[in-house]
Each structure stands twice: as C-alpha cells, then as structure tokens.
Amino acid sequence: MTKELSKEILEILRQDCRVDAEQIAVMIDADPAEVAEEIKRLERDRVIVKYNAVVNMEKFDKDMVQALIEVRVTPQREQGFDALAKRIYRFTEVRSVYLVSGSYDLMVLVEGLDMRQVALFVAEKLSVIDGVLSTATSFVLRKYKEDGVIILDDEKDDRLVVTA
C-alpha cells in the first residue's frame, strides 16, 4: 500500500472512525482486504493509538471541568523530563501531557468532577511530586473547537432543500 493511500486512510479515520474498512476501500479505490490489513498494521505500530468519541461533557454535566496546567520541573539525571512526565501521566485525572517549548516544561490537561476536585489534585498530588518546581493552572471556561470539530454552535445545513 502506498504512503499516499495510507495517509488517506488516516485522514478518513481522523474525521470519523466509525467508517469501516470496506467503505474506506470504496472511497479511496483500493482493495478492501489490503485496507483492513493496513489499518491493523497502523494499529500495531501505534500510529493509530485509540478510537474514541469527541464528547462535549459540558453539555452533559455542567459541573465537570478541565484545566490546563503549566508545570516547571527540574529534569532528572539520565532521564531528562521523561520520568517526571511518566509520574504525572499515570494519574487517571490527567488526560494529556505534553513536553513543550517556552517558559514552562510540561503542559498537563486535567479533568475533574468540579473545580474543587481539580484544584485539590494540583495542590495535593501534582505540586508535591519530587522535581516539580511550580505550576500555573488555567481552568477551561468554554470550548469552541475540539479535535478539529466546532462544538459551540450547532452548524446546521441551512441550504434550500432542492436547488437546480
């Protein structure tokens, strides 16, 4: 399978992971068995890591909250930032951890049942980790766009129903 076709498979799955291998094969004009095999290979290589729904939790439960926490750390001897990142991402409250450039080292995305829970997590679990120098927490107040999809306004199809 060519890299071009592989890229198309990833594009399609990123847009909607419910599309099955057979339909993808029709869309890109390829053999269904080859497409299924390629998807398995991408999964094995962890290019495709997971399939999950992008959920607007705010709509479901008004108290649920997410916070972006900028963490400054002292890199560990021989392990750099990796060991600390691992200690942080092991927590189930932590949705994402990135090593970033700039004035902070790690960007951590945390989700909790309410603001208090998130604040307590930062104070009691995150800040106390050996090697963490300081944290700066910003609560996510409103999401406009997540993972490539606009979630704030319901963009309806308002075209005239039949046109020439």
Binding site: D16, V19, Q23, V26, V161, V162, T163
Partner: protein
C-alpha cells in the same frame, strides 16, 4: 379587471415552469428528509474569503466598481485561467458577472437573434433552454444517452447543425449527469464547427471538480479560442454560491458586446463579492489551491461511495467523472423517474430530482453527493428499502 394573460410577454409565458419547483415544495414540508437534491456545495465559504469581504465592507467599500469588474480581480482570473486550464485571456477579455448565470445569459443575448437555433445538451441544467427562449431563439436538444456516457459525439451533434445554428452550449463537467469530456473527445466535435460561424458557449462552472485527469476546456482546442465564450465562476470551486460571482472570458469583440448589455443591466457585480473572490484566488495561488484540492478529494470519496452504493442495489449507474452528481438509471424498476422520485420522497423521505426536470428523459434521477457521508449512507439505505417495497 386586468387580464394579465394579455399583458405578460408571450415569449416568457411559453417557457414551462421549473420541474425542480414541485419537488422543492414537497420536500420542504417534510421534516427529517434527506436531500440529495441540492445543487450547491455543503461546504461553507472558507473563512479567509468571508473575512476579506467583511473587511472590505468595514473599510467602506460600498460603491459601484467598473462595469468590467475590479482590475485586480480580472488580472488574477487571467492568471488562474492560464495556470489551471492553459487558456490565455487579457484582463480586457474578461468580465466579472453576477454569477455564472448572468454570464450565460449575456453570452446568449449577445449573439442570439429571434429564430436562431442554439444546440443545447439534453439532459442539462434547467436554465439553458429558457434562456435561449427568452431571447427568441430556438433551443435544439442534443439527446445524449448513458451508452455514450452523456458526452457529445459527432453522431449526436452533426445532424443538428444547419444554416440557422448560431451557437452550441457546451457544459462539462455536467449538471445533472456528472459527465466530463476529455480533450481528445472534444476534438471531433470542435472540428464540426470549423469554418462555421457557430459559437461555443462553454459553461465550465464545475471545472475544479474533475476526478479523471485535468479539466479540458473546448476553448483550448485548435481553432476554438476565437469562437468560444468561456464561462466560469466561484460558486462551486470555492463554495460561494450565495455571493453571486462569476466571470466570462471571450475574444474582445464578443466580450465588448456582452459588456454593453451588462453596463445597462447589472452595472457591476457586488463589490464585496469581488473582494471575496480576489482573496479566493490570491490565497489559492499562495497555497497552490490546497483548499480546493481538499474539497475535491472529499467529493471524490463520496462519489465512489454513492456510485458503488447504487450499483450494489442493482441500479445501473454510469461513472460520473465530474461535478457532484450521480445519475442512476431507473428503467430496471419499471417505474418512470417522476413516479419513483415522488414515491421515494413520500415513503422514505429521500429527495432526488427526476430527469424530467432536466429534459425529456423519464429514466434517471439526479442524486447530489454534496452532503455528509452519513447522509449519503443513510439515503442509500433508504433507497434500497424503497426498491424492496415496490
């Protein structure tokens, strides 16, 4: 009591009402109907283009522009025509119009006199025949069939040419069939026009939505540039249907004649739409038309799904290589297209347009795939149900 029948122009009264209207009225009353009957992209105009128009209004650009259209825009169009289709026009041979629709109208008004015959493909876009008739011309249908993949051939065009033929409307990629014509396929048809005074009015509005090779304009063939009026626009390529922005390219004498009409009728295309179009081309050149390409790729995927879907349920469907329509044949159902489409709409709430809206054939239906993949899959499922019902 005023008798309006005596007042209304007979020429206009004689034009039959749009076949689309009936389905529009039926479908708009239904909730949850899936419409495969739309003739415009489901994409919204890219933000940078919208932003350019907003900015232009904010800066107070609210006056008339030159009748020709803003010079900067025409320069970009000239560059675009050369880059994309290998056609050479100077900015003076280009005019910006209120949609490609106005351009088609101007082209016909500029050359058609009462009694002149105009060859019109059938099935075809609903406006061509009425436009010819509004000008007192006589539309002569070129009956195309799915055996020939709805293309022009020497056999279906030649017999219709006579001394009264003034123009031929060339419309590829085609609405409603989705057919395209390659350069080598256009060549023998172009040769028929050699030495005549017949003008080719080429509606190329779907030129960016070609899925097999590059779009070939009839104007690029030998001897055709001087006898072709090329019409294009921003509606489909840049999802700008509501902005009403198109353009026409033609040899100076023809362009000037169209300009004369445009000066006295529309005056100029909307200034903010022109600003938007300018941004569309400017940013397009900057990123090699990546947005257009992305859209085209998306349509191509849906095209394959819908054609495959029809064939899988036993409906014969020729492979459309352009635009965003599939044109499956309904003969195997034993029902005429109008009855089928009406039944489908009432029973399964899927709106497709029967081929009777586009000509005399009652054997096909036009299914637009300018809608989400989910909608296409669901519509296919419902059509399959309907086939089992009847």
């Amino acid at each position: 009591m005023v008798d309006y029948n005596k007042i209304v122009s007979r020429r206009v009264a004689e034009v039959p009402p749009s076949g689309i209207r009936k389905f529009f009225d039926l479908a708009s009353e239904m909730e949850d109907a899936i419409s495969l009957g739309v003739g415009e992209p489901d994409f919204v105009t890219p933000w940078n283009i919208r932003e350019a128009a907003i900015y232009s209004i904010e800066r107070g650009h609210t006056h008339y522009t030159s009748n020709h259209g803003v010079i900067e825009l025409r320069e970009y169009i000239a560059e675009y025509m050369d880059y994309r289709f290998g056609l050479t026009y100077s900015p003076g041979q280009i005019m910006v119009t209120v949609g490609a629709s106005e351009a088609i109208d101007l082209a016909l008004r500029a050359i058609v006199e009462p009694g002149d015959e105009v060859l019109v493909p059938e099935p075809c876009y609903v406006s061509y025949m009425p436009k010819v008739m509004f000008n007192g011309g006589v539309p002569v249908p070129i009956r195309m069939s799915d055996d020939e993949e709805f293309k022009f051939t020497v056999d279906n065009v030649k017999p219709l040419i006579n001394e009264r033929t003034k123009a031929i409307i060339v419309a590829f990629p085609n609405n409603p069939t989705g057919a395209i014509m390659t350069e080598s396929e256009l060549k023998p048809v172009a040769e028929l026009l050699e030495g005549t005074d017949i003008i080719a009015v080429s509606d190329e509005i779907y030129s960016e939505l070609t899925y097999q090779g590059k779009h070939a304009s009839i104007a690029s063939l030998d001897g055709m540039w001087e006898r072709t009026i090329v019409i294009n626009g921003f509606s489909k390529a840049f999802a700008m249907t509501g902005w009403r922005l198109g353009y026409v390219c033609a040899p100076t004498e023809l362009l000037d004649t169209m300009l004369k009409i445009h000066q006295f009728t529309m005056l100029c295309a909307p200034v903010m739409s022109q600003a938007a179009a300018l941004e569309a081309l400017r940013s397009g050149f900057e990123n090699n038309f990546a947005d257009v390409e992305k859209m085209r790729r998306e349509y191509n995927r849906r095209r394959r799904v819908i054609v495959d879907g029809f064939r899988e349920m036993g409906l014969s469907c020729f492979e459309p290589m352009g635009a965003f329509y599939a044109f499956p044949c309904l003969d195997s159902t034993g029902m005429g297209a109008e009855r089928f489409c009406e039944g489908l709409l009432r029973s399964q709430k899927v709106a497709c347009v029967p081929s009777t809206a586009f000509g005399t054939s009652n054997s096909f239906m036009r299914c637009s795939y300018a809608t989400s993949l989910d909608n296409i899959n669901e519509a296919l499922r419902r059509i399959k149900c309907y086939l089992q019902e009847i």
